[in-house]
């Protein structure tokens, strides 16, 4: 394999820094710096020299290099400027890597040879040399993006999208690299309408067998508490809800959901989650609170989620953000499962407390949906999508994220919050919870409804054969 080291930009000619006429690397011992995950940009220092003999050719090489300096500086703040990439591949490295360049700096070498002026005797060999400083992103990226596999819609309140699985035109492929892959595009479309979206990432590296993760905890599978009973409902996940009759208007434990009810593979459900409660009232208002603990605990000793007021009815069902809590609640570094069995977590429990505030309506509890928080997540809201619309998420090579919709081309830029929303190496899932605009029935979504999603794997140093 031939060594590659070049500066590249769409719309400009590549500037090769090795094995080419023009500029060449004079320091054979140069190796790229190693970045840090989420770290600052990396500074590379190369010694380069021109091997042209014609002053016009030297000038052309200088002009080309200086143009890239200008473009790189502009691209750091001008989002419409094409990015300058540093492309690298060691002589026996299988794959090429590229890193987005923030700035190029030139400094004349002390031993630089002259390029003109004076008498012929002072014009030594017309080979100017420079220290070339390159300020680049800390990650090397794969030079071409991979496609996200297509996901057909399914009637689920929460679904686990396997972005490493085979698709119609995509072969199964676990994420490679040593840091998360940058999402170049995630395209999601509703089959009916979409108002809000929660997505959490879950990797096999951290969380064991992904297929054992339970993304939907049906309320009707729990232990009913005060004034609560199961009730069939075709609009609900699992076609049933837990219905809480008015009874008293005071706080009471209406339902308990215990991990063992849903999974015997406790470890595969470990993680930190935002807990969503899908529910509604038949009329009036209720207040709910999720409490997190273990089945043998006194309710007052549990970790309390925020209290939320529910005023929407079945046709406008929504998900309540019921708090952040981990499975297990113990410190796994102090008390690992190797010393204390994960069986302890069989009793991990969510209690749903509720009280009626106004009116005489019923509270109907559909399901609880854990959205993973411990690796990366995205929430988008104020969406107004219908079946012909799409919402896009993308991250630039400079780490800037954005979300937009395609209602009548780009319809709007809805608010969103994203944290480390990058695909962890290895096998992984996106846990996706969609909610209709203004609440409603369970929404079905599809991935790659319009443009095909893309991701680009990344490395902190060398790529090798990955």
């Amino acid at each position: 394999m031939a060594q590659t080291l070049k500066l590249s930009r769409t719309g400009s000619s590549d500037i090769n820094l090795v094995n080419a006429s023009g500029w060449f690397l004079t320091d054979p011992g140069w190796v790229p710096q190693i970045g840090e995950e989420f770290g600052p940009p990396v500074q590379e220092a190369l010694k380069i020299q021109s091997n042209f003999t014609s002053q016009d050719n030297i000038a052309a090489a200088m002009v080309a290099l200086n143009k890239l300096r200008t473009y790189a500086a502009r691209s750091a703040y001008d989002r419409q400027e094409a990015i300058v990439w540093l492309v690298d591949q060691l002589s026996s490295e299988t794959g090429q890597r590229q890193a987005a360049v923030r700035a190029l700096r030139l400094q004349q070498l002390a031993e630089q040879h002259g390029v003109g002026g004076g008498d012929a005797g002072s014009m030594v060999d017309l080979k100017p040399g420079y220290n070339l400083g390159i300020l680049r992103e800390p990650y090397w990226e794969r030079t071409t993006a991979r496609d996200m596999p297509y996901l057909a819609p399914a009637v689920l309140a929460s679904l686990a999208y396997d972005y490493t699985a085979a698709g119609a035109v995509v072969t199964a492929h676990d994420i490679v690299g040593d840091v998360g892959a940058r999402i170049g595009l995630l395209s999601i479309a509703p089959t009916s309408e979409l108002g809000k979206l929660w997505i959490g990432l879950r990797s096999a590296r951290k969380h064991g067998t992904l297929a054992n993760f339970i993304p939907i905890w049906e309320c009707e599978s729990g232990v009913n508490g005060t004034d609560a009973q199961d009730h069939g409902d075709a609009d609900a996940s699992g076609d049933a809800v837990v219905q809480v009759t008015p009874g008293t208007a005071t706080w009471a434990n209406r339902l308990a959901l215990t991990l063992a009810t849903f999974s015997a593979n406790e470890v595969d459900n470990f993680g930190t989650y935002l807990w969503l409660l899908r529910c509604w009232v038949t009329s009036g208002t209720w207040e709910v609170q999720l409490r997190f603990g273990y089945d043998a605990m006194d309710s007052d000793d549990m970790v309390l989620g925020p209290k939320r007021v529910i005023s929407w009815t079945a046709g406008a069902a929504r998900c309540v953000e019921g708090g952040v809590a981990s499975i297990p609640l113990r410190d796994l570094q102090a008390m690992p499962t190797a010393t204390v069995s994960a069986d302890l977590e069989a009793g991990w429990t969510i209690e749903i407390w509720a009280r009626r505030l106004t009116g005489s309506g019923l509270l109907e509890l559909d399901c609880v949906l854990p959205v993973p928080l411990d690796e990366g997540w995205l929430k988008v809201w104020d969406l107004l999508l219908t079946s012909s619309d799409f919402v896009y998420f993308a991250e630039s090579p400079f780490g800037k994220t954005m979300v937009c919709t395609n209602q009548s081309n780009i319809g709007n830029f809805p608010p969103f919050v994203a944290h480390n929303f990058e695909l962890p190496p290895g096998d992984g899932r996106m846990i996706i919870v969609p909610e209709q605009d203004g609440g409603g029935l369970i929404e079905q979504i599809l991935i790659n409804g319009s443009d095909v999603g893309k991701y680009t794997e990344r490395w902190l140093s060398l790529r090798g054969a990955e």
């Binding site: 935002l274 800037k400 919050v417």
Partner: protein, 474 residues
């Protein structure tokens, strides 16, 4: 980034997402109070992150906009852009929603003798020199033949101008004593009028006693509707001592002219120096929607249970609605005499009063501008470890942005002391304290403040002294 800072149009407008400023909002921090809810916030925008044109646009167009923070995918704070301090090119400009510097609905209360009579019939200036006639009036009751005047007349002309003076002797022009001589001064030394009478046509008048006991008078509300439509209603009640109606009206007009719009004020003087200027910065102060409760006044005194009165006061606000108001049958009074009281101030005092058993209550404005009112908790929710860190009951470190005040904190390294005899209340546990305010300092710092119980006791005593909390009959 674990949080977003989304800016929306002003609350008087509908919708309008303007962008997420989390990346460029330097030094973002905000506080939440157990009494008040989402309270204050601040951040700085810099020319190092935004262009000067973008900063100008932000200063001109986004003032008063709504700011909403979401952390870990949950709503965690919301409020308004309340004050801007913009420094560029060595000059400083400010805009503010401080009610003393911005109000578009003004009412004036002042003290002035009650009117004893008004116009009865056809009015004429000067039927004889320096006199006034009401053809259907009899001025005998108020005229004076010797000594100081006892009454004055204040006339409104057909063009809105005024003339006024002190009454002398009554005389007959058409009907008995239907006319009266008018003097400029109380001592009746100079015959004539004050104000505008020459060439004017009188349309109405009032007679009032000069030495009578002052009574509370009001100049009815006037509004700059354009300003209200753009920013919402900011009421302002000016109170004056004894003064004339014309001055009260003039003050009202002046307030509206000067303060109806939250205009940009250039601060300080100028400088001709060409010294190096730093990058432009825009310091933004925010307030939660509790502050908007003080954009309106309560003008009628009322006695009711705390819960009932709170509900009434919240309903009277422009932007806040009741989320949950728990039952509290403590009778309280909102006292609007002699001066009206701002809604937020009235609410705060009621919440501070607690309940009949002396328990602490808390209330504030939270997500979606909903007001919540409830008794303070009676169980511990968080622990403070020896190293100063804050953990939940499962010993997991808290997520700073998600913590709300109004909780009991047990200090695990505190001297245990002794619980007073006869009480098992956690409030009497010497290792437990009530956290009444938290401040999140981005990206990951939490500061919290412990309530000194004396604060509520003092507030309650003050209210009892003023008669605003009534003894409950048993």
């Amino acid at each position: 980034m674990t949080y977003s800072l989304d800016l929306y149009q002003r609350p008087i407008a509908t919708g309008g997402h303007l962008g997420n400023y989390a990346d460029v909002a330097r030094e973002w921090q905000r506080s939440i109070r157990a009494i008040g809810g989402y309270f204050q916030g601040s951040f700085t925008l810099s020319e190092e992150d935004l262009t000067l044109a973008e900063l100008d646009w932000f200063y001109d167009e986004y003032f008063g906009g709504q700011l909403k923070e979401q952390a870990f995918m949950m709503p965690t704070w919301e409020g308004l852009l309340y004050e801007f301090r913009y420094v560029k090119g060595g000059r400083e400009y400010r805009r503010t929603l401080d009610p003393e510097r911005w109000h578009n609905r003004v009412k004036v209360y002042y003290t002035f003798p009650d009117s004893v009579d008004t116009n009865q019939g056809a009015l004429t200036y000067n039927p004889a020199a320096n006199s006034f006639q009401d053809a259907a009036q009899n001025f005998d009751d108020w005229d004076v033949a010797a000594g100081d005047a006892t009454h004055q007349v204040s006339v409104t002309n057909s063009d809105g101008t005024n003339g006024w003076g002190f009454l002398g002797t009554a005389f007959t022009t058409t009907n008995p004593s239907d006319s009266v001589y008018v003097f400029e001064d109380l001592e009746r030394a100079t015959a004539g009028w004050n104000g505008d009478v020459t060439g004017k046509t009188p349309s109405s008048y009032t007679i009032s006693a000069v030495a009578g006991t002052g009574a509370r008078q009001v100049v009815d509300c006037r509004e700059n509707a354009d300003a209200s439509a753009e920013y919402g209603h900011m009421e302002y009640v000016a109170t004056l001592g004894g003064t004339a109606p014309e001055l009260a009206t003039a003050l009202q007009a002046k307030e509206l002219v000067e303060f109806a719009w939250p205009r940009s004020w250039k601060m300080g003087g100028g400088s001709a120096s060409v010294e190096e200027r730093g990058p432009a910065t825009l310091e933004v102060s925010c307030v939660g929607f509790w502050a908007t409760l003080n954009w309106r006044y309560r003008e009628t005194s009322r006695i009711a249970t705390a819960a009932s009165l709170l509900s009434t006061l919240v309903t009277a606000s422009e932007f806040v609605t009741a989320g949950r108001i728990d039952t509290n049958d403590l009778r309280v009074k909102v006292d609007c005499d002699p001066a009206p009281i701002r809604l937020g101030d009235a609410l705060e005092e009621i919440v501070l009063a607690g309940d009949r058993s002396g328990n602490i209550w808390q209330g504030g404005v939270y997500d979606s501008r909903l007001f919540y009112y409830e008794a303070a908790p009676t169980t511990v929710e968080y622990y403070e470890l020896e190293d100063g860190s804050l953990v939940d009951l499962a010993m997991n470190p808290v997520i700073p942005a998600l913590v709300r005040p109004g909780f009991l904190l047990r200090d695990l390294s505190a001297p245990s002391g002794t619980q007073p005899t006869g009480t098992s209340s956690v409030w009497d546990d010497p290792t437990v304290a009530y956290v009444d305010e938290v401040t999140f300092v981005a990206p990951d710092t939490l500061e919290y403040h412990l309530m000194e119980e004396e604060e509520s006791v003092t507030a309650l005593r003050r209210m009892i002294e003023r008669g605003e909390v009534l003894p409950v009959p048993h």
